[in-house]
């Protein structure tokens, strides 16, 4: 059970308080209807899935309830940083 630093609570909390919410920084297009099928597919389904540095979202669902972003190494599972939703990509 990994420990995750919640940037809102500002402390490390155990994984079972959190829900992973997939890759970060995939913004919903402002005008979905103007998107091509390919662009829409990319938004819905295409994922980086990197071996190494990965931007992902977590929700402290059984804590403060906030979604936030994280940079984690997918080979070591170690977090580089976590930061609040809306903050620029790190």
């Amino acid at each position: 059970m990994i420990l995750i630093h919640c940037p809102y609570c500002d402390e490390k909390r155990p994984e079972i308080e959190f829900a992973n919410a997939g890759q970060a920084h995939i913004a919903r297009p402002l005008d979905p209807s103007g998107q091509s099928d390919a662009d829409w597919e990319a938004y819905l389904f295409i994922r980086a899935n990197p071996r190494g540095r990965h931007h992902e979202r977590w929700r402290h669902i059984h804590g403060c309830g906030r979604f936030f972003n994280a940079v984690r190494d997918t080979v070591t599972d170690k977090f580089e940083t976590t930061y609040k939703a809306g903050e620029p990509r790190r």
Binding site: A19, P32, D37, L44, G65, F67, G86
Partner: protein, 953 residues
Amino acid sequence: MSGFRLKTGGRIDRSQPVMFSFDGKSYQGFAGDTLASALLANGVMLFGRSFKYHRPRGLVAAGSEEPNALISVNRGPGRFTPNLRATGIEIHNGLNAFSQNRWPSLAMDFGAINDRLGMFFPAGFYNKTFMWPRSFWDKVYEPAIRKMAGLGDAPTTEDPDVYASTYAHCDLLIIGAGPAGIDAALGSMDSNKRIILIDEQDELGGGALADPALWPWLERSIKALTNAPNVTILTRTTAFGYYHDNFIGAVQRLTDHLPEIEDRPREKLWRIRAGEVVLAQGAIERPIVFDGNDTPGVMLSSAAKVYAHRYGVAVGKAPALMASHDSGWHDIFALAKAGIRICAIIDVRESVDSALMHEADRLGITVYLNHGVVGVHGRHGVSSVDICDYADQRVRRVDADALLMAGGWTPSVHLWSHSKGSLKWRDDLGAYVPDQPNENVHCVGGCSGDWDYGTGAVIDMLPTPKDQSRIKAFVDFQNDVTAKDITLAVREGFRSIEHIKRYTTNGMATDQGKTSNLNGLQIASSALNKPVPDIGLTSFRPPYTPQTFGALAGHAKGALFQPTRTTNIDSWAQAHGAVFELVAQWRRARYFPKPNEDMHAAVNRECVAVRSSLGIFDASTLGKIEVVGPDAAEFLNRMYTNPWKALEPGRCRYGLLLREDGFITDDGVSARLAPDRFHLTTTTGGAARVLNMMEDYLQTEWPDLDVWLTSTTEQYAVIALQGPNARKVLEPLVQGIDLSPEAFPHMAIREGTICGINTRLFRVSFTGELGFEINVPTAYGRAVWEQLMAQGAQYDITPYGTEAMHVLRAEKGFIIVGQDTDGTVTPFDAGLDWAVGKKKPDFVGKRSMARPDIIAPGRKQLVGLLTDDPNLVLEEGAQIVADPNQPIPMTMIGHVTSSYWSETLGRSIAMALVAGGHDRTGDTLHIPMPGKTHTAKVTGTVFYDPEGARLHV
């Protein structure tokens, strides 16, 4: 040959005799004995049979690395445990132990025929045969192979014991309480760190327990640690796994060593989060590989020392030592000091430290340098040993009755490896030792390769003049892997150690290779002519030693396995004979049978009651979300398919929720209470998912909206009062709400009180009848329900369950998300076009509905089905075809999603998803079932009161 109890010595309590039995025969030991030491003291050398060849086997070790002495213990009904190591079983009065994998008896085992035929069962033999004739595999070969497999018998009845679990936190976790671990604890004891010290044995001390000179120090140290308020000591506790971020799993054994269990938990799972971890797990002595090294009476020299000095047991009257390492010499000197006559020291090395030679000489022990064992005589025990002088290849016989092996040491890097710390190879030790850590952890003592056992030669196996292909020199005792199995694997092209391990099963026995991995690596290294680091290392996986399923499950057993959520009204339903069903985590009343009623009779009666007079239904499990804030309507408008901004306070609307991929995920009727306040409902199973999805959009896509979501599912008990007489029952109970149809139309909400309790009263209907859903604070749900039952008695008010609810809604063509939709259904497929806001520029899922396949013709669409035989109720999930006469595989065009007997209509009704279904109205379709093909006509989905006249009264 046989072991015996020494007159003095050991840590056993000779004043406390303990009676136990093994294979039905009674023995006596002392408090402090393990089953291994007690049997050894009684002269028992034969402990079990090996896995594949059923060879007789004795003790190899004294600790948890023991590969051979696997025992079943029976503590009475449900308390049978196979595969326990005799070295870890503390004896108590009444202990009832059995050997395994033998028939009819341990001494006389028919399975030993495998040993005679062993030449036909080399590694991987099963890949090469049992293929012809082909039909024999299922019926003959495989059953026979399976019958031979396995060690102990399986338990056959449910375990009555309970298991406990807990989390724990500390600043410093020390795993292993030998001298190194105790020193680490003593060194940090005076800091204000919270320390947990864990050891798998029944007392602290590790290797010091076999060294009487250290006992005074040990006693002082234990006393100091026990008195330190910041130190928690856990004995009989195995740290079995090292997980992310210094999270360690450990199991504490609480009752197996006690004669009486009482009602205490058998084991306890400790889930420990440590700031820093010190691994002090020591090192495991390595056996030596030579012909006959598995004969009972051949064991590790360190084990013989433990038996002598910890348990006061001699392993034989005249043991000899086969060494490649100094440590064995020290062990044998210790045996000599305990009064055991030593037969000989045999060392493969040409020379050793002169101090060792002098000590041997002083103790009068014959020494053979540059010699090796090439044969062991005796089947159930050592009778003598053949040794070879490597200088001239001459073989001589030595009359030893036990043979001790000292092949060097393997640091216990298991947990270090679990933590993903790296390892480095040390040629001088012939072993991997910890290198770079991956967590806040370090190793001390033996497990770091740091020991004072002296030095040794690193060998793969003892040279022998015999034909290598004709001898049996074991590497993995339990799995019967020999040196030639490993060379065979190499010969057949298996080059990586993982391949060799899997092909030969070396290291895959219940001891997980603790004594065999390094010897296997050395042999493979020689065979491949490559240095060990080039062939890799098999990775260590949790657990360190096998751990009980029940302990890992912890308290999660029976009713505690998972919560069963119940409503406030559930207790009433239970008291009134309801039959329940499980829906998501909830328990819901399915129907309320009267005496002698089956489900169909009860459901028919419940349905008719709702249509003709009055029914009452517990709808509390519906998900509820309070949406509050100035932007509440804007938010719902973006989430749901239909428009919400113009909904007036006091009115309700059906909401349809899609995933972003355009498929229906949830629905429910929601109400606007105030300009900035909505009361949403969701499906029972969808409540948490919908709230999370809405929070996701709100927090991350539209954080500018001033609106907040609160789950109110459990704030309200919800009672659905449905039927033509619903209003009449409510009227006398409700205050502050005008219930007249004009003041309170269908799809409206009013706030007031009922029986003096605040209520949000919905006028909504999932049955097609005049209906209300009464939301009251949960604690009062049952009380209000009972008031309604009393008030409704004059109308024969009838409680109904989920089954009747399903029938009633199906008669009206209302869908159930998850039953009539399955995650691949769009609003158009479901015939819910009317619920999609055509003018809305966007909502969640809208764009996906414009994808090519979603707008293509031929999609499966929801239709009604009426069977030609009105008495036939189709099976839900039955498949539909257009042409019943086609061959298999048939082209299926859809399936039945809902199907019921409608007592109201006097016939069966069904809904189905059918390809192009909306254009097939009136068509006859076919439903092929085993033995008969049914026919049905496609209809609309509304079977009852299509005008909705009954709602608007």
